[in-house]
């Protein structure tokens, strides 16, 4: 359509974590401006942790994000453990895996059911769905509560886990609790199947848009990587060690954003559930693969809107892995372990694939265990440039839509990435000059 003037200045878009703006200015076919802006107030975490004791680091950095506080806790503790030369036990690793999967389930259910479903059902929030789709809302709440209760049982608190410590736990769950967790997750598989069927019934509402990009995630020969692994890019054959993460992230400051942006082999890359699915799909469980097939998700998938679908698939995987790890404790028992270690000088990097993608914490400690340098690279930072690139490709394709519809489609694009903007601006790096 010629002569049409489009002006979208959508400040602080809703149903995302943190503050982001969408700006589109278009005169006829001339696209003057397409911008994904991050005006969120930065918090300067890397500066806050300097001079603090190793024992406080994960307590402080957990507070970067309410939704992925567990992922931050583990990336932080892994970085400290790498710096101090600590190898954790199998018990500690498996408990962390359970907690990490619980966070993955909690975060994905929150995103898919509370933030994305309203778009697919044409309402402004989940609240009207309490009347119109009560069974689905109750199902979502059941799954969300299960994930949160698992966080309580293992971590001591739903958000900002208390029990998780460097080299172990301040308190261990009872074996009976692990039995409950296993049984509850077995029951949850039925709810997840129902949820997948409901999402499948709405899948045609996801915009049909594709843009190939570079997909970055962790990868692990043992399993579909979340808690641990090395870095994999869809553009690079060889895996990259977490300690070399800066080769991948290449952070830079952009005027559109208080959050830093990243680039690797192209102008932008994507992290998150879809990137993990594209890179590691073969390692998913049979059940998760079947749900992916049912939802029409096959790799490689270049439609960013399908990230929400990949999250549904991962929910099934996380529930199944939780059953497996809980069973291990029922078979092997739980015992008190020594958390002691010798504090030493050094640098360590911790990488975890958290709900929104790959998270890096990088600390340098002096001989007394005080942090002297910190660098944190957050999944949403790594997605900002990709969101921008998607918008630039998408806007010309939808220019004939009404402004309202175009705005909604762009909001849906941003929401698909499940951005955690608080995270991305709270984490900017510190380099001692």
């Amino acid at each position: 359509m010629t002569g049409k003037s489009i002006r979208i200045d959508n400040t602080h878009i809703s149903r995302v974590e943190g503050h982001g703006n969408i700006v589109v200015h278009m005169e006829g076919d001339r696209l003057d401006r397409v911008e994904w802006q991050i005006p969120e107030a930065p918090r300067f975490f890397e500066s806050m942790v300097v001079g603090r004791d190793w024992s406080e680091l994960s307590r402080i950095t957990s507070r970067i994000c309410g939704i992925c506080s567990i992922g931050h806790t583990f990336a932080s503790q892994k970085a400290t453990e790498a710096a101090m030369g600590i190898t954790i036990t199998e018990q500690t690793r498996r408990l962390r895996e359970i907690l990490n999967h619980a966070e993955n389930l909690q975060s994905h259910i929150l995103h898919v059911c509370y933030l994305v479903l309203p778009d697919l059902l044409g309402v402004g929030s989940v609240l009207p769905l309490i009347e119109t789709h009560r069974e689905v809302v109750l199902l979502a709440i059941r799954l969300h509560r299960l994930a949160n209760e698992t966080c309580d049982k293992i971590g001591g608190r739903t958000t900002h886990p208390i029990r998780a410590c460097v080299n172990g736990w301040s308190m261990l769950p009872h074996k009976k609790t692990l039995g409950e967790i296993r049984d509850d997750h077995v029951k949850a598989l039925k709810d997840l199947k129902t949820l997948a069927e409901f999402v499948q019934s709405l899948a045609h509402k996801f915009p049909d848009f594709e843009r190939e990009t570079e997909y970055v995630s962790l990868t692990n020969p043992r399993e579909y990587a979340l808690y641990d692994g090395v870095i994999k890019s869809s553009d690079v054959k060889e895996p990259i060690q977490p300690r070399d993460y800066e080769r991948v992230t290449n952070e830079y400051v952009d005027d559109r954003s208080t959050a830093k942006w990243t680039r690797f082999n192209r102008d932008a890359y994507a992290v998150g559930a879809l990137a993990r699915f594209n890179n590691n799909r073969e390692q998913l469980s049979e059940n998760a693969k079947a749900i992916a097939g049912q939802l029409g998700l096959s790799a490689p998938c270049h439609n960013p809107f399908m990230n929400s679908v990949a999250q549904v698939v991962e929910c099934v995987f996380s529930a199944e892995k939780t059953i497996e790890h809980s069973q291990w404790f029922l078979d092997n028992g739980i015992k008190e372990e020594d958390r002691g270690f010798a504090v030493r000088e050094g640098r360590g990097v911790g990488a975890v694939d958290v709900p929104r993608g790959t998270l890096f914490h990088d600390y340098t400690y002096d001989g007394k265990g005080k942090c002297v340098e910190a660098n944190l690279v957050i999944p949403t930072n790594q997605n900002h440039a990709n969101i921008q690139a998607d918008m630039e490709d998408l806007v010309p394709l939808i220019k004939d839509m009404s402004v309202e519809k175009m705005n909604l489609t762009l909001e849906m694009l941003v929401r698909a990435y499940d951005p955690c903007i608080s995270c991305s601006t709270h984490c900017v790096d510190l380099r001692r000059s």
């Binding site: 943190g18 918090r43 806050m48 307590r59 949160n148 029990r163 900017v428």
Partner: protein, 250 residues
């Protein structure tokens, strides 16, 4: 027209974990929306409203330009509640203040880009250091039960009751072994209860996220910590992880 109180949620510099605790009320959300009208909550809904009976504000103020948005919310709200540690006391965000020189903080973080205008920052302030606050919900994160109690009290037109006694009281009720007896340290004696002594109950000393109780004896607390072999530097760090010194303000 609905006579239910109109409730809104807003956030400034924070992790939004306190608003997340509202989603974490799970089934009780349904009861909550029967009691109040949630008219604005950007994190979960698209709708907006011109005025509010109760505004919950999460987060600290960390730059000049956010003050106007906060003042506007204040003007349009009957009751304004500071939600969580970042809003109530400045919380962990005030660690930036004790790092000292803000130019250095910005240089540390953004390197040679430090003075680009959109990266402005100033010393962290609690919400109450900018506008009058009617009520504070403490904690990092908030306690969901306490939040429900606050909303119910407002809906019934009464004042919520928030403890002004220390965490130790709740810890004793839980029959926990005192962490000092186990060779650890804890700020429970001077920090506001209401969390159910959640950290000590999970084997970790109180970090002070709910702020200091009225008339607390800081010096006695310092003596106890010193008797348990903490250095002056370590004691200071414990006191400023969450700001327990009122003087640590801009």
């Amino acid at each position: 027209m609905s006579t239910k109180p109109k409730v809104a949620f807003f956030d400034f510099a924070s992790c939004e974990g306190c608003q997340l605790q509202i989603a974490n009320l799970e089934e009780e959300i349904i009861g909550l929306v029967d009691l109040v009208d949630v008219v604005e909550f950007r994190e979960v809904m698209t709708e907006k409203a011109p005025s509010y009976d109760i505004a919950f504000v999460e987060g600290s103020i960390t730059r000049k330009k956010d003050e106007a948005r906060l003042r506007d919310i204040r003007e349009r709200s009957g009751v304004l509640v500071a939600l969580g540690a970042c809003a109530a006391t400045g919380g962990l965000n005030k660690l930036k203040n004790v790092r000292g020189n803000l130019e250095q903080v910005r240089r540390d973080v953004y390197g040679s880009d430090w003075d680009r205008p959109h990266l402005e920052t100033y010393a962290t302030r609690a919400v109450g250091e900018i506008v009058p606050v009617d009520f504070q919900v403490h904690g990092c994160p908030i306690n969901r039960e306490e939040f429900l109690h606050v909303v119910e009290a407002f809906a019934l037109g009464t004042n919520p009751e928030i403890p002004d006694y220390p965490v130790c009281a709740e810890c004793k009720i839980k029959e926990n072994v005192c962490l000092f007896h186990l060779g650890q340290t804890c700020l429970g004696p001077i920090v506001r209860a209401g969390c159910g002594a959640i950290c000590p109950s999970n084997g970790v000393g109180c970090e002070g996220c709910r702020g200091i109780i009225p008339h607390a004896n800081r010096n006695a607390m310092k003596d106890v910590l010193a008797e348990h072999n903490l250095t002056v530097e370590q004691i200071t760090e414990k006191f400023n992880l969450f700001p327990l010194y009122p003087e640590v303000t801009p």
